[in-house]
Amino acid sequence: MTTTILKLFVFPASLILICYGILTILGGHITPGGGFQGGAIIASGIIFCLIVYGLDESPIKLSDNFMASIESIGALGYIFLGLAGLFTTGFFMYNLGVDIYHIVPPYIVNIFDYPDPLHAGIIPYLNFLVGLKVLVGLSAVVITFLESDKLLKNMESK
């Protein structure tokens, strides 16, 4: 049963959870955690809203097209970063931003360099893309369950 207190509390709490998940993604190349864990935390914030408010009244609305687009961007971006290394150096998923073997021209290293003190190259970008994919994927599971539950109730009523 959803009480008024829950309805007032859950949306701001889920936004804090989402921000925390984003922070986990951003620290993924240095600290424990990363794209999957951060994406799962963000998805937990979205699922929190879905469970309390229901599918129809949830303030965070993920449509089918949106989920398909974000998941595709995550997967294709990951493959693109892998292929960029393959075509440039011959190694799939070569870290172009770090260039440990010194076989990449400097201007390509500058493109894929991540601007922070560690200069982790493509690792933060991979975390970012995996995070996008996971946040949508895990939310889609719960949305599918909720929609199928609604569908079953409609079928039973008929």
Partner: protein, 82 residues
């Protein structure tokens, strides 16, 4: 010097989620601007307590956390009005 990497990536993810925060048609739920103002204050306090995560030394705040909330709010204001 503020490192721009976490600021941009955090803002983008926040923006992607912020554009999907929309009011439901016919719903009694209402989250006015004051919710976001209070949330911003809470996030700034959390970011200050957390320090420059992860192990950066560029500021006293966890910049990624603040940019994430900024992305959510900007996404909500631009495309998330319903």
């Amino acid at each position: 010097m503020v490192y721009i990497g976490p600021l941009i990536l955090g803002f983008i993810i926040g923006f992607v989620i912020g554009i999907r925060i929309k009011p439901s048609i016919g719903s009694k739920l209402n989250f006015p601007a004051s919710v976001y103002v209070i949330l911003a204050i809470v996030i700034v306090i959390i970011a200050y307590q957390q320090g420059p995560f992860p192990w950066y030394t560029d500021s006293v705040f966890a910049n990624g956390l603040i940019s994430a909330l900024a992305g959510i709010i900007v996404g909500k204001l631009t495309f998330g009005r319903g």
